[in-house]
Structure formats: C-alpha cells, structure tokens
C-alpha cells in the first residue's frame, strides 16, 4: 500500500492496473519538479546570459566562470550541497524545492548558452540603429532583441526541458517521491521490479514525447513574420 492505494498481485495484469494510480502520483511529482526546475533555469539562465554579454569584464567574467563551474560539476554534487550544506547556514528548504532548485541551477548554465547564441543572432546593425533612434537599452532588449531571439531558441530550450525530465530521478536521493522512487518502493515491497520499472519507462516515453510535441507546436505557432531563420 502506498498513498492509501493498495495493489493486487493476483496476476501481472491486475498488478499493473492496480499500481498505475500510484505511479501517476509519482509522475505528477516528476512533472512538477521538471516545470519548477525549468522555470528557474529559464530565468536564471537569462540573468546569466545578460551578465555574460556585458561589456565590462568585471561583470562578464564571474558569470562565465560560474557557468563553467555549474556545467562541469555533477548534478548530484550540487544537489547534495544544497540539501546538506545550506541548512548549516540557516537555509532549510523542503526536499522538493531543493531538488527543483538544483535542476534549475544546473540547467541555467545550458539555457544561458542558448540565450547567448540567440542574442548574438540579432544583428549588431539593428541594435546600433535602435541606439541611433535613442531607444533606451531596456526597450531595445524587450522589443528588438527578445522577439527575434525567442523563436530561434525555442527548439533548443525544448530539448533541455526533456533533458530535465529525465534528470528528475536524481532527486530520489534526497527522498523526493518522484516516479522512479515510487516504482522502487513498490518493487521493494512486492519483489516484483519488472512491472513497475517497465511502466516507468513507458510513462517516461509518453511524457517526453508530449513535451517535445509541445515545443514543436510552440515553435510552429510563434510569430516569425519577416524573420530570417537561418
């Protein structure tokens, strides 16, 4: 029994059907962690990207160093650090939030590179023209750079969303009950690992296919009139 739902081990089929609602609970946590992590990665990545493209070395270099550091250390190490070290300094976050934060930080390093490539694709000449028109820097970014950069970066960001989803099981080590850890608990208690783990694989496949399709849809739907896309 898990989440108040018990399983039926009379046959493989009945077992699969009975544990499906339990695994779906886990799937929900997996989706939530992916989304929260992705949103953090998107915002933090944008901040990192704008710092990295700053003209002043004193600003761009620390941001570059930080990106490199995040990218070159394992997610698990960062997760342990947030989960076990931060409380020593009075920052106590729930396991779920810690996990989502770790995912978000890890992937912000990647998204910041995606943003940077997108930003650089907006021609310097356009930015100069905007400056010559005396548009303030914030507005240049919002109405000239972003609308042209976003359609170019959506496909790459979609890939990272799928990637984040596949990294969520790492959060099981800090006791987040996402789909894989739920399946493992079921296996531990019933000594049948084959069926829950196969179902996790299947559900993951459905999840990632839906996410990729969503990204494709967004990519197709975004306003691109007039934009030369390579």
């Amino acid at each position: 029994m898990l989440f108040g739902i018990s399983w039926d081990t009379s046959s493989n089929g009945a077992f699969a059907v009975s544990i499906l609602p339990i695994l779906l609970r886990g799937l929900l946590v997996t989706i939530e962690a992916s989304i929260v992590g992705f949103v953090i990665a998107l915002t933090l990545g944008l901040a990192l990207a704008s710092l990295k493209s700053n003209r002043r070395r004193a600003v761009s270099w620390p941001a570059r160093l930080l990106t490199e550091f995040i990218r070159d250390t394992p997610l698990l190490v960062q997760l342990f650090f947030l989960y076990y070290v931060l409380p020593d300094y009075g920052v106590v976050l729930p396991a779920f939030l810690t996990g989502a934060l770790a995912l978000g930080i890890q992937y912000s390093a990647y998204t910041s590179e995606v943003y940077r490539a997108g930003l650089e694709s907006v021609l310097r000449g356009q930015i100069e023209a905007a400056r010559a028109l005396d548009l303030p820097p914030g507005r240049i970014f919002r109405v000239i750079v972003l609308p042209q950069a976003v359609p170019r970066i959506i496909p790459a960001l979609g890939n990272y969303l799928v990637s984040i989803m596949k990294d969520v099981p790492v959060l099981s080590v800090v006791s987040v009950l996402e789909m894989l850890s739920v399946a493992k608990i079921i296996g531990d208690r019933t000594f049948n690992y084959l069926i829950p783990l196969s179902m996790v694989g299947g559900l993951y496949l459905v999840l990632t296919i839906v996410a990729s399709a969503g990204a494709r849809y967004l990519d197709i739907r975004l306003p691109k009139r007039g934009l030369p896309l390579r």
Binding site: L123, Q126, E128, A129, L135, G226
Partner: protein, 263 residues
C-alpha cells in the same frame, strides 16, 4: 578656425582601433543647414566620423561639440568629465542616421519600424506617431507600404523606410553612411532622389558619406576629401571636382573616373 555658427565641431579628435589610427587629430566644422559630402578611399575614417557623432563609437582624445554642447563630455561641477549614458541619450536627439545596410527591424511592419521610437522616446501617442509615420512615408513615396514587412520590400524601398524612420524623430542633423552602397545599381536612383528632395525642401544639416561623386557634386555645399584620418582637401563641389589642389585628391578622383567609365 573659430566659427560660432558651427553646429558640429571636431577639435583635434583622435580615434584608434587597436594599433591603427583612424582619425588623426581631426579638425572639422559643419554649419547649421550645411550639406557636406565626405568622400575618400575606404579605411580613410569617413564612416567613423558619422559613427562617432551618432555615439556608436567613442573617441580617444580631442573634443566634439554638437549644437554648442560637448558630445562625448559633460560638465559636472564645472568640470569636464566623460559623458554618461543620460547625456549621450540627450545628445542623440540632435541626430538621425541612415546606415549602409538599412538595419530595419525585420520583425516589425514598416509602420511599426517608424512609430516605435517616436512613441517610446518622444512620448507621442499611437495616433500622433501613426500620423507622423504616414507623413514621412509619403515623403519617401511609400505611403502604401506601411503594413508590409521589410523583407517584402526591395533594397531601395527598405532604405527609404530607414530614411523615414530617422526623420520621424525630427533630428536637426542627418547622417548618411554610404546609403546606396549596398543597393543594386538600378535602385540607387530612387534613394538618391529622396535624399535630394530632403536637402532641397528641408532645413536639415546633412553629412553624407558616399561614393556617388556625381550625386555629391549635385547636393552638397562642400565636399571633404578624407585620407588616412585627415581631411586632405575641402572645397565647394565645383571647385574640388574640377580643379583639386592636392595631388592625393587628383589621384583619387582619377581612379574613380577610370572605374566608372570602365563600368
């Protein structure tokens, strides 16, 4: 030269890119309402003069005044200090610039390209900005293209939109940086016509970097020949083109004549 009528004044301006000196102690004055053509070989620093005026490039030393105010410097407690962003933004209001590559915003319609800055810099209402856009599109002969995207227009039309976009900010000084160099030959005329109309009907100060010698001769009050970061010779067009005083100017013009008669 001490001339109080100068709307633009360069004094001993030096600009370097790495080891190359692009402007080598340049002194240069432009009067209000004057049309000045700048000619010279590529790399002579002529485009740099416009880019510095538009505050797209800084200077290494010297002093520039525009409309009586220092461009790259400002006064703080009676002390001349390097200009901050607020001062530069204020100074940019004096000038408009047209680029070789047009640099329209490809994701915006022609109308939006023109209304964006008047609305968000000058604070015009949408209605006022649209009226102004219409007025200048009419001036460049493209009033019926307002809803198109730049990629749907020819190069010549795009450059005319870029001219309308710059004019809609009501600058006192217009800077043209080789406005026809990126155009197919058959499209050059329509852009030159617009610039010519502007110079005749408006009281704008105009600086025009160009390789179109005939055009420079027709519209300018004065032609400046640039070479190696200095003005080698400057004179009214009829004088400079028919009897250049400097050997270097003669060589340059001769090369040009050969090239254009060969073409």
């Amino acid at each position: 030269m001490n001339d109080n009528n100068a709307i633009i004044r360069f004094e001993k301006v030096v600009k370097r890119f790495g080891d190359t000196t692009v402007l080598d102690g340049l002194d240069f004055d432009v009067h209000a309402g004057e049309k000045v053509a700048i000619i010279g070989p590529s790399g002579s620093g002529k485009s740099t003069v416009l880019r510095i005026l538009m505050t797209l490039e800084g200077i290494d030393s010297g002093m520039i005044h525009v409309a009586g105010k220092p461009l790259w410097h400002q006064y703080r407690n009676d002390q001349l200090v390097p200009a901050g962003e607020a001062h530069l933004r204020e100074m940019r209001k004096e000038m408009g610039m047209v680029f070789q590559q047009f640099n329209l915003f490809p994701h915006m319609t022609v109308r939006r390209n023109i209304t964006e800055a008047p609305m968000h810099v000058l604070g015009l209402s949408r209605k006022q900005a649209r009226e102004r856009a219409h007025e200048y599109l009419e001036l460049v002969g493209l009033a019926d293209q307002a809803d198109k995207f730049p990629s749907q227009l020819s190069g010549g039309q795009q450059q005319r939109v870029a001219i309308a976009r710059a004019l809609a900010m009501h600058p006192n000084i217009m800077l043209f940086d080789e406005p026809t160099s990126a155009l197919d030959p058959e499209l050059v005329g329509e852009v030159l016509n617009v610039i010519q109309r502007l110079s005749e009907e408006h009281d704008l100060t105009m600086l025009l970097v160009t390789h179109e010698m005939q055009f420079a001769r027709e519209i300018s009050d004065r032609v400046c020949f640039f070479d190696q970061g200095r003005i080698v010779e400057q004179a009214p067009p009829e004088e400079l083109f028919s009897e250049p005083r400097e050997e270097r100017t003669r060589e340059f013009l001769k090369g040009f004549l050969k090239a254009s008669s060969a073409a």
